[in-house]
Symmetry: C2
Subunit: 388 residues, 2 copies
């Protein structure tokens, strides 16, 4: 079930011996955002953090804050970045920091279901959905909530929570809730990818419970920092209760480093030569163009068409360049296995509630791995080895 | 239920205005180990970490390790420290890193109960027990396990997990399992305080599943780093599965910092003038002597007698100097409320499965707070305000 760590060769390993890349296994399963290392290497020591041994020792960051383990400077940095990008409202909201947005998602499930009079609360998401939601909602066999699968076919009575990921993981589409009952429904909006290098920023999101993650903005997955913007104080308090019991807060070192890096994004976001988002968008867009070329040059594969839109941040109409490609086969065949035979690891569509003819491919690997992936994809297409 | 963050004033805050300490609320509830800041300040920039923005970006630390998110250098540092102190065997074991030992304890409950054929598995601990175990085993209402309270009165059939904390939190006693059935029992050994500044190291522990935490060794609670030493690979794999779903691993920044600091402990542990453990023991011992003076000078309070023992690390017979004082009243009265009226926050004995005449008092606060605590305790004793 858990694919992390099962691969024989990571991006990191394969990068070390890129001379032999053409033979190695390429792991595009987890979405490890190592692509962005290049940008941060160019920044040299700009966002280097220095932490003396006597600093950041206490459990507490600010005892007056509902989220007592949130470093005040990180809170400011989060608000400043959302303000500069215009992707989400931060006014009159509680910010809850988590060990990545996975932990926050579970904190939100705990909070919303604890506050529900009827339990278990049904958890749903429209297919194709982020495969990890299934695991997060199921692994502990909680009596508080229960995974009920596809939101589009959901017909159980009683309270429910709909996970809405927009742009969606795995297929990059812009999403709205689909259940929309008058009563008993709560929505967790996962905006991990609602940043201008992935998608046009078309509006300032203003939802009740919004999740964001540091890893998918800047590539710092190893830091495990995410945050939630929460309107209701009771929900925020329950989330903090979860995070207190689960891990007694969140690494201060990671919070300090995230603060420095997010502040740099804000500071440089309007300077074209330095802006991370300009860099990121150019890079993602170029990868998508090359992928479309390979797909369009044959008749074997499908990828979604992402409509263009006016991006309020860039001030122009741009294409989407999602963090994952939702690659499909025209033939009815297990694409994940086919790619695995060709030494490319991806996440099978069945894990996202769909057919095995689809896979989720990370678009965030290092350049070398991405090049080899495209080369292998072209080979599969040319070899016509896609017949059942 | 969750006391973290509910206090009006933290150690950190109160330290900032220590001129007014005699009026402020002293928080000795959580065991925030700020006492050790002083040592690390004296070390100046010895263990300062410097992290450039391009470093530690990947989810992965070592894909060949069962615990794929564990930094290899941290693994080495943990083994070296246990080797130098002689408190635990690390050979033929898997090391699993967690966001503090709280998260690891929950990973262990998940692992052991998932592997049990019969569910729910009963979770027990002998009173007085660490209050957080109750919350950890209960908050998600898992069908995998169920909190069943005091291990001494446990009489349910079926599989069980006994939490054994030694030295015990809250009362500092050395503990062994008490249920000891021939079949169906598993033990999680929490050795958070089995370090020479708290207790004599009398043997090299060699248990199946042992938990340790960075925060209570060196005082770096803000880093949220703990580790488990696990004999059985299936248990280790299940724990890693939990940590993968729960938070996709553990902060790399915290791991890097813990590595540097643990290595320093190992390097200096035999140099009396520099050894953290020498410093820590002197400090803890002096606090306990002063506490005993206050308690012995009146007839109101009780504290446990901790027998002396030969410490293999120090090479001499020493007293225990536990991280918490299990303070009791001779009268039948709510000691937590009495102390709260006197502006000292502690953890009530009822939360540890005992009477309210007992409280758990953190011995790890900053000097100023500890001084004020002793002063207030002496005042209560003198005022004879302890009558019901």
């Amino acid at each position: 079930m858990i694919a992390f760590g099962n691969s024989k060769k990571s991006d990191s390993d394969s990068n070390k011996d890129n001379k032999s890349l053409s033979d190695g296994v390429i792991n595009l399963d987890q979405g490890d955002p190592t692509m962005f290392e290049e940008y941060w290497m160019k920044m040299k020591d700009r966002c280097t953090v220095v932490i003396p041994a006597w600093d950041l020792m206490s459990y507490f960051s600010d005892t007056k804050n509902v989220c007592w383990f949130l470093e005040p400077e990180l809170e400011k940095a989060i608000k400043a970045l959302h303000g500069a990008i215009g992707n989400a409202a931060t006014e009159e909201r509680y910010i809850v920091v988590g060990t990545g947005s996975s932990q926050l998602c579970q904190a939100a499930l705990f909070a919303l279901s604890s506050l529900s009079e009827v339990k278990p609360v049904s958890i749903v998401a429209a297919v194709p959905y982020y495969s990890t939601y299934v695991e997060e909602a199921s692994y502990l066999q909680s009596k508080l909530y229960k995974w009920e699968g596809d939101a589009r076919t959901f017909d159980k009575e009683g309270p429910y929570i709909e996970m809405v990921t927009s742009p969606n993981n795995p297929d990059g589409t812009m999403r709205e809730p689909v259940v929309n009952r008058k009563e008993g429904g709560k929505v967790i909006h996962d905006f991990a990818y609602y940043w201008p290098h992935y998608t046009p920023i078309t509006r300032r999101e203003d939802q009740d419970l919004m999740l964001f993650t540091f890893s998918k903005i800047t590539g710092h997955a190893g830091s495990r920092i995410g945050w939630a913007l929460v309107k209701d104080i009771d929900v925020a308090k329950k989330m903090v209760q979860y995070l207190t019991v689960n891990s007694i807060g969140v690494s201060k070192e990671s919070q300090i480093r995230a603060t420095k890096i997010l502040n740099e994004l804000t500071k440089t976001c309007r300077t074209q030569s330095e802006s991370f988002f300009e860099y990121g968008y150019e890079k993602m867009n170029s990868r998508w163009e090359r992928l479309r070329e390979v797909v369009d040059s044959g008749d074997a594969f499908t990828i979604p068409n992402h409509p263009q839109a006016f991006c309020n941040f860039f001030g122009k109409t741009i294409s989407s360049a999602p963090a994952f490609a939702w690659l499909g086969l025209k033939a009815e065949r297990d694409l994940g296995s086919l790619l695995k035979e060709n030494k490319v690891l991806t996440r099978g569509g069945d894990r996202c509630g769909c057919a095995k003819k689809y896979v989720r491919v990370s678009m965030l690997s290092r350049d070398d791995d991405y090049d080899v992936f495209l080369h292998r994809l072209a080979t599969i297409k040319d070899l016509k080895c896609i017949e059942p």
